[in-house]
């Protein structure tokens, strides 16, 4: 199974309503590398179009290559241009290490749970 996930990326997306606001959630499983980066980009862009606030669950992503980091940062800038944000949910140990090493951690917010990431939407008017 682990070997299969090296070269595959599975995603699941949904739209969540939180305090009157739509939040797009996408969860990935597998690895983001050369072979899967286009699918990662497509799914992020697609999920990002659904709502300005985008949650990206990386808890089951075993690996994130430098292009994958770039894709996340790009999409994060897109969400902000639309008045929202992109936030990461529980990156795996390896992915969080790559995020920190690459400096991307300073530009991407991450949280251990979805509700924690949505906390600051509470006070905002829908």
């Amino acid at each position: 199974m682990r070997r299969d996930l090296d070269n595959h990326l599975i995603s699941m997306s949904r739209l969540r309503l939180y305090r009157g606001r739509e939040v797009s959630c996408v969860r990935f499983r597998g690895s983001v590398r050369k072979l899967t980066e286009e699918s990662f980009r497509e799914r992020l862009v697609e999920s990002g179009r659904r709502a300005p606030h985008l949650l990206v669950d990386l808890s089951e992503v075993e690996y994130l290559c430098s292009s994958g980091l770039g894709i996340l940062l790009e999409q994060s800038a897109v969400q902000e241009r639309h008045g929202g944000w992109l936030r990461l949910i529980s990156p795996s140990r390896t992915v969080s290490m790559i995020l920190r090493l690459s400096g991307a951690a300073a530009s991407l917010a991450w949280f251990s749970a979805e509700d924690e990431a949505l906390d600051d939407l509470r006070g905002l008017a829908a």
Partner: protein, 145 residues
């Protein structure tokens, strides 16, 4: 050979071999990150994504918990060790989509050497030191705490 699936095969083989050289999974992931970034450079820039071109990867265990990975290609001559790597913090601040690969390779290796090959092509030698990778991982967990 370059082309569809080349990187997947490389990753599979590296995953099989690396545990004999590096014990901790986080350190293996970092070594794999550097090698994979080097291989992507060769496939994308050296071969311009052309299929059927040779890419050989050799691993050697060295003394003192060090090991060496050589990436051998027949791409046009390109000495990546002479290219100044991007500043990772600045790239993140600008949210740049590319330009991190070389900087990560430098960060994770002790030495990077380039040798032109007789008849054309490049040998890129990455030397890793397990204790360096350990320090990188420890620093990460210290900062995360």
């Amino acid at each position: 050979m370059s082309g569809p699936g080349a990187l997947g095969r490389l990753v599979t083989h590296m995953r099989e071999i690396l545990p004999s050289l590096i014990r901790k999974p986080e350190e293996r992931a970092l070594a794999l990150l550097a090698v994979e970034e080097a291989a992507v450079n060769i496939l994308e820039h050296g071969y311009q994504n052309e299929a059927g071109r040779p890419l050989t990867i050799r691993l050697f265990a060295l003394e003192d918990d060090r090991f060496q990975v050589t990436l051998r290609d027949r791409a046009p001559l390109a000495d990546v060790t002479r290219i100044a790597p991007g500043d990772l913090k600045e790239l993140a601040r600008r949210r740049a989509s590319r330009g991190r690969g070389l900087a990560l390779m430098r960060l994770l290796t002790m030495t990077m050497m380039h040798r032109p090959r007789p008849g054309g092509g490049n040998d890129l030698v990455l030397v890793f030191d397990s204790s360096h990778l350990t320090r990188v991982v420890e620093e990460h967990f210290r900062n995360a705490a």
